[in-house]
Symmetry: C2
Subunit: 567 residues, 2 copies
């Protein structure tokens, strides 16, 4: 074993050890939270609400710790694959070690603000996280010189932050969609944003042609995915590259077919699958999701849109909001209350596939022959333009029996089908976040190298180097976290992890695009400069597909607490 590999091994060992210490503390925190939130042997959601701050911080800290762990695994893999035995650390090693220290520092700061509330003693906290070895590791990684050197190194790479480690198949997909992003999407992105246009056919047709809408659909239904196993990595890579072109004008196109396909695969009858999936796969029919209601946000159980039985079908009445791509879509996945008894909560909900014509404008009104009506109005937003999110009003809108998802068996199961669909939306959103971060980072590096201040490029200043190093480390960690969870999902697991990675990457994207804009100075605030768009686009990420608070408090914390050891 070379001297170098000794050094790498030692540093990696220090990082592992420090993460173990963090994990031990987080385990205590979760065990403690479990003991406080149990009711009759079960973890009670209502009781978690009494500890929201702790639960939120535990969820976010766990997400950061997971990201750090995956980042170390990744660096190890890179070393194995490249067989690097040079004297210096790989870039991936350096990024992984630095990111670990950042994550540990941030978790430590969070916990030390209120150790009592976390149910840990100051002594335990100090013993675990302020030990000589943990502190030694963090201090050396967080030393200015180390970070600035890393910043200089990434600056030379024009926006690259280490190997992606894709297999050939996914590498090919990446190449293809990077080209689409560069050649087709980027030249149109600014105009789409500034004029708030709907995604033009130039982009749509390209995406259709390359089979993107079938990425999560098995081959036997005309999709690109093997019949044996999900291929989340394919969906992730394509989403990432398209989002690098534009979040709103390309990267989000797959979200809705992704959700609809998953819901159909989970809940649809064989006939429904046969009827819809092949059309969705080739983009013959475009789709949208009508779940959120104006007054209920993510409180699915309180949904009011009513479906009343009529001859041969159902009549829908009520309103939905944030129905993204709802104008262009030919079919809407509508969550409706089929049982008027509100006390049933989500057990009174069913899922429908509502067909409609496709519209390009900011508003439409569709009248059915039988008198039913559906009208929609796009909601103007500060970013994420191109898809158009609609408010929708259903007025005696008729849906035939065969469009009740799951058939008669599906009655009352709408909530579960929704959840099945949305689990894909979360990992997909993480992929959107990393694509957006990637392009923002590329622009920041390029601007920092070109722009002279006081006679030299701003990239030559320490503060810029530190910013770029942090951006690079968080971007690389976000990507590898997303990939790792994607692979986990291929094996049928990773549902909670998908929420974790969505929480982490979306918060990170907000921060990273903010920094990228700041590096641009005044020009960053101009619409002319793409980074201004990345900044406003990123702001939507922590809101949609599960707001950060919802994910942390309703998905991640309960799952972590449930699996925590008993105190």
């Amino acid at each position: 074993m070379s001297e170098h590999s000794h050094q790498v091994k030692e540093l990696m060992g220090q990082a592992e050890h420090a993460l173990d210490a963090v994990q031990a503390i987080l385990d205590s925190v979760l065990a403690n939270l479990k003991s406080r939130t149990q009711k009759g042997g079960q973890v009670s959601a209502a009781k978690i609400d009494d500890y929201q701050l702790i639960a939120y911080d535990a969820a976010l800290s766990s997400a950061e710790a997971s990201a750090a762990r995956f980042m170390l695994d990744y660096a190890t893999k890179v070393r194995v694959e490249t067989g690097n035995t040079s004297k210096t650390l790989n870039l991936e090693d350096s990024l992984a070690l630095f990111f670990c220290a950042e994550a540990i520092h941030s978790i430590r700061a969070r916990l030390s603000a209120r150790p009592d509330d976390f149910g840990i003693s100051q002594t335990e906290l100090t013993a675990k996280l302020e030990s000589e070895s943990v502190r030694g590791f963090c201090n050396s990684q967080l030393a200015t010189q180390n970070i600035a050197a890393l910043g200089k190194a990434v600056c030379e790479l024009n926006g690259q932050v280490g190997a992606y480690l894709l297999d050939d198949h996914h590498q090919m997909m990446q190449d293809t969609f990077r080209r689409v992003a560069n050649e087709v999407v980027m030249p149109l992105a600014k105009e789409i944003h500034q004029k708030d246009l709907i995604i033009p056919d130039a982009i749509l047709e390209q995406v259709k042609e390359l089979g993107c809408f079938g990425l999560s659909i098995p081959e036997r239904f005309g999709g690109l995915q093997s019949d044996e196993q999900e291929d989340n990595m394919g969906m992730i890579v394509v989403t990432e590259e398209l989002s690098r072109g534009s979040l709103g004008a390309a990267g989000s196109l797959i979200t809705r077919p992704e959700i609809l396909s998953r819901a159909l695969l989970k809940g649809g009858t064989e006939e429904q699958k046969q009827q819809w999936l092949p059309k969705l796969a080739v983009g013959e029919i475009l789709c949208a999701v009508a779940v959120t209601e104006p007054n209920y946000g993510s409180d699915v159980a309180a949904m009011r849109l009513k479906a009343t039985k009529t001859e041969g079908g159902w009549l829908l009445n009520g309103a939905k909001t944030w129905c993204t791509f709802g104008g262009k879509a030919g079919v809407l996945l509508v969550l409706a209350r089929t049982n008027p008894d509100l006390s049933l909560g989500h057990r009174g909900l069913s899922m429908f596939l509502a067909e409609k014509p496709t519209y390009d404008g900011h508003a439409f009104e569709y009248k059915q022959e039988g008198g039913g009506k559906l009208s929609g109005k796009a909601i103007a937003t500060i970013g994420y333009r191109g898809m158009h999110s609609f408010e929708m009003f259903f007025d005696n809108f008729f849906v035939p029996d065969e469009n009740l998802l799951g058939g008669p068996e599906g009655l009352g199961k709408g909530f579960y089908f929704t959840m099945a669909g949305f689990s894909g939306g979360r990992i997909q959103t993480a992929a959107r976040a990393i694509g957006l971060m990637q392009v923002a980072f590329e622009r920041a590096v390029s601007y920092a190298k070109d722009r002279l201040v006081f006679g030299k490029p701003i990239a030559d200043y320490q503060l810029t180097q530190v910013k770029l190093a942090r951006m690079a480390a968080y971007l690389a960690a976000s990507r590898q976290f997303t990939y790792a969870v994607g692979r986990l999902m291929d094996t049928g697991k990773g549902d909670m992890e998908a929420s974790m990675v969505k929480l982490f990457t979306c918060k990170t994207a907000e921060w990273l695009t903010r920094e990228a804009l700041q590096i641009h100075g005044g020009m960053g605030y101009a619409e002319e400069t793409p980074v201004s768009r990345y900044f406003v686009d990123a702001r939507v990420l922590s809101i949609f597909e599960g707001a950060e608070e919802t994910l942390a408090l309703k998905v991640i914390a309960p799952a972590l607490v449930k699996n925590a050891r008993d105190n």
Copy 2:
């Protein structure tokens, strides 16, 4: 002395003590930085560049510590003025104590990331900032229950965060301009933003009529300010209230007359003062500032726009950018190079008052009789709309001799006059930030109380209460920090502090508006909802009137280091 006042006194004492400990550490940091950045007995700007990260963090930490100190002073003043002897703490006490703990925690986290680089030992850091008493104070203030209770309390107050402590004169100003904001500005703000309109006369005339443009102009020149002493508080209060109405469509109107008045008062000849100040004071002539150049940002010494002597005046040639309100303005304050020898740096620069017609549109071209030309084009931005920032091209543009600021004596002094003008721009920008935060906070509270999720208002959830408590504390601290520095400036001091308060409040406004948007969920992202505008507006604050990096590294850190003790 009542039992209560004992308790308050004790808590305040703990806070003071903890802040003293922080200050002692920061003093060490600065002394250490001084020892490393001296060159021939002088602090060297170039050497500070070798320690940018440390210098930046020291500047920001010092700003936070100052804000905390002023916040404690404020709470004490409120207690004295209200004579409160009830059993509970005043709201102002609670906000001040909590803010102190937040500031200390944030400084501690920053320093503990890299103690070696800060030149402090782990032992010193632990002894000072992890002492039983400092930790005891912080832990009790940062305890979830304490914060959540504070959040509940502020929620009842519909956006108020404690007494302003204004004297009658300024209270009257506040009442007047709050009314203007509510009745005149707010109803127009959304349309101005969405359609990117120039500020309409309805607002402009109102602001003129109330004498706003003369707020920093002494009475003898037709302004509102006493001839004996500056009245920064008046300018701050008016700016704050107008910015509460809209940052771009009202709150920023005073910035330019503020800068121009200060430059004129500092550098103008008596004739120039007599000629310009009365017209500026009543808004008979509107003004703009043309200092920044496309390729040089805040690097004033590198400015290229050339002024060449000609008969009876000067010919200006070159480009300026970010000339806000440049279309509407009737006079531009132009920084130009009167000595072509670039090696003179800022000593080759002079300041001119360039007259032009006023234009409403997004572009204009003005031809002088003698053949000179000035063209301008508004730069589209993601927010801060209403003022329109122009790129300007000067082509043999003639300015008569009498418009050289300071007359022949003013030659080569343009840089100093610019600095004099901009010092007012910084405190004024802090006031803009607090007005924007105030309205964002009001909307967040109101939405949190109205919006039901899972059957109860989100204001009833702990995480929302924590968010609102933090927002309230940072808003109150920002306001009182700004007021304190404003009063300091009235006595002719506070130049460095103006940069500190600008740095702190603008960063805080970015964060606070982000949180306010998040509380609104999806609706926060819609242009329909004012908070979406506050979010994009706030993003400009850390960029203009001195970017955060420039203020920290070029103004605050050098001043702090210069005044630090010798090690």
